[in-house]
């Protein structure tokens, strides 16, 4: 039982840590949105694993709230960026968004070729 306990929390913690690293590295707002979404799902999964392994049903309503929160968060940030786009003339660069990192990487790749 303790083996399953440590193994499950080790896997979940590793996934959460890697998602946190992506959240810190970025490089763009949308990468962080995706990383936050994944992190919240991993947290919900951790709560469910705790509920299952300890046979403790008190945390189950929290799961509903967390899964709702992940959806509302990612959708509202996506719509916010869309609104910034609508008022920009330069793909978002003139409203404070930096040049897309993938676009820059693609330009570097094309220059190398």
């Amino acid at each position: 039982m303790t083996v399953a306990y440590w193994l499950a929390y080790g896997l979940l913690g590793g996934g959460a840590l890697l998602a946190l690293i992506r959240l810190g590295l970025g490089p763009s707002l949308l990468d962080r949105v995706v990383a936050t979404d994944t992190l919240l799902v991993i947290i919900a999964a951790g709560l469910a694993v705790h509920a299952g392994l300890a046979r403790d049903p008190t945390l189950v309503p929290v799961l509903v709230v967390v899964s709702l929160l992940a959806f509302v968060g990612s959708v509202s940030v996506a719509r916010y960026i869309g609104g910034m786009l609508l008022r920009s003339g330069d793909g978002g660069q003139d409203v404070g968004l930096p040049q897309a990192a993938e676009e820059r990487a693609g330009q570097v790749g094309e220059a190398d070729r």
Partner: protein, 154 residues
């Protein structure tokens, strides 16, 4: 009480461990994949399959129907909302050019020049490819239309 005694417990713990493994693969994929779309592909693994496996495992372990129904609700909600949020994030990613277009094999959304002008029915977060020139062009077309009709004095 927390021991693994029956076959059901073994199956439940196996489901929980499998779901946790999917969470780890999501983290690895998020860190190693090159752009937003591929990172979303990795991040969605625990959102549907991982959460479903963990919910099934927890539902087997927990006693009482109220917990089971609530876990079922969470699983259903995940399956309903994951496509919606993925659609919105990926659409904004494409419009913001966070997609490595040099890595796409097929690019069906590539502009054919048709959606460069505002037609008035765009969703708020999906403007034409180049919003500034598109707005100027659509305003110029409006002006020309009005002059053709002869009421350009407004």
């Amino acid at each position: 009480m927390n021991d693994v005694e029956t076959l059901g417990d073994v199956v439940a713990v196996a489901f929980l461990l499998l779901g946790a493994l999917l969470c780890l693969t999501a983290g690895i994929g998020l860190l190693r994949f090159p752009d937003v779309l591929t990172r979303m592909h990795a991040g969605t693994k625990p959102q549907v399959l991982g959460v479903l496996l963990i919910m099934v495992g927890a539902a087997i372990r927990l006693q009482g129907w109220s917990a089971t129904w609530m876990l079922l609700l969470v699983a259903l909600f995940q399956m309903l909302t994951a496509p919606v949020s993925a659609h919105m994030v990926s659409r904004v990613a494409y419009r913001r050019r966070h997609v490595r277009r040099d890595r796409l094999l097929v690019d069906e959304q590539r502009s054919t020049g048709k959606d460069r002008v505002y037609r008035g029915d765009e969703p708020a977060d999906a403007p034409p490819e180049e919003p500034g020139p598109a707005l100027a062009e659509s305003l110029r077309e409006d002006r020309e239309d009005r002059e053709d009709r002869g009421d350009g004095v407004r």
